[in-house]
Symmetry: C2
DNA sequence: AAAAATTATAAGGTACACCTTATAAAAATT
DNA sequence: AATTTTTATAAGGTGTACCTTATAATTTTT
């Protein structure tokens, strides 16, 4: 229901706001500027900043401001990319007025996973700027992957990643010879497992494990 | 930021779930069935049901279950329409796998306003069923309107509604002769007001009022 | 009618992200 | 150096929507 426990919406919005408002990567952004942007009280901003700092998304220099950590910047860029792609979709394909698109994209950016937004980028012809002229940050991943559980029978693909990682699954994946990069074909979908072909071998994968194996369908 | 105070996401999800799970309009749906659907504890479901009942979205018959009020059913149908249109978009235009589309649409359905979803319906050719074969409830409104504030200079249109309503604005709207149904042309956008032509007259509308006047651009 | 099962309610708790008021600390200005 | 302004922190509160444990009321089954 609730998007399965990724990064919270507010966290993403704060990180992207810091990216948008800051003067440069090393210039701390004052909490006052953030407070004005969001229209929240200084105390609330401060509270949230402490949390973001504890969680490693930002660096907080009291009385000076905040900068993004490497992790935080990655999240901000990913969000801004999704934001601007949705803006393009709204204005280019749905004829939503320019001024409205920004606000609506502010919600859509959190509602669709990155994989969907990458497909959207393809549909739009991989635009490089939003309707307001701002550059769209490039995608980091060069592939689009799908959870093995969702790959239709008969499809060929490449294992891209095991995520979320857990020791048990990683051991199984290794035993099955399903390491990232290897090519597979989905042979059969059963009630409790999925049969895939890896090179000459057939492997039966419990659905639970299939949930964390990601495939780029080729 | 947070979509300006409409119906809360959870309220919409509960109402649509009741619609989906019920046997018929008059057959009460047991709280147990709802609890199983959401995976929440019986106490939590009960708590939420009391709130929804107090707010008039549902009728609660203790020990028997809940039915939707007329209002509640309208919300459920609107949400299911948005849900199924987004599913169609995901599968038809983005090639998102069938099984994934449902879950993603479960978030998108709340993120885009009805007006945007109606434009999406047009783009998709007004489909009548979702990718899983379920009928898409029809749209109640036959027009798509835009807030006057967003209508570009030069556009012609028809006043559709004043919303949200407030006594002061309604009086002004009447004085200006801008009642629903009348035709207007946007003449000029200034810092604090918008000038529109109504028949032979020019009217200056403060931006504040322009926010609650809705126009079907023709 | 009694026992068992289901459903409701009471009581207390959690996380999140906002709020206000008051005080303390640091920085900037005079 | 003293004053003013800005920024931080402490303390207490709100609403939403979940949780558990325990008890009460009702319905269903025996
Ligand atoms: Mn946002
Ligand atoms: Mn933009
Ligand atoms: Mn939903
Ligand atoms: Mn469907």
């Amino acid at each position: 229901m609730e998007s399965s426990g990724g990064i919270r919406e507010r966290v993403e919005d704060y990180l992207a706001a810091i990216y948008r408002l800051r003067g440069g990567p090393e210039l701390p952004l004052s909490l006052t500027a953030l407070g004005e942007y969001f229209g929240f009280s200084p105390v609330s901003i401060h509270e949230m900043i402490l949390k973001l700092s504890q969680q490693g998304w930002i660096h907080y220099y009291p009385y000076r401001g905040v900068t993004l950590s490497a992790q935080g910047e990655a999240v901000a860029l990913a969000l801004l990319r999704r934001h601007r792609l949705w803006e393009r979709f709204l204005t280019d394909m749905l004829d939503v007025p320019w001024a409205e698109a920004h606000e609506i994209a502010g919600a859509l950016e959190h509602a669709a996973p990155e994989s969907v937004t990458e497909r959207l980028s393809t549909l739009l012809g991989d635009p490089v700027s939003c309707p307001h002229g701002v550059p769209i940050p490039p995608s980091k991943r060069t592939y689009i992957d799908t959870c093995l559980r969702q790959v239709p029978v008969g499809a060929r693909g490449r294992v891209t990643r095991i995520a979320p990682e857990s020791g048990d699954v990683l051991r199984d994946v290794q035993a099955w010879g399903l390491l990232p990069g290897c090519q597979i074909t989905v042979i059969e979908q059963q009630a409790a497992e999925i049969v895939v072909q890896v090179e000459e071998r057939l492997v039966s994968i419990p659905l639970e494990s299939a949930n964390v194996i990601w495939i780029e369908v080729l």
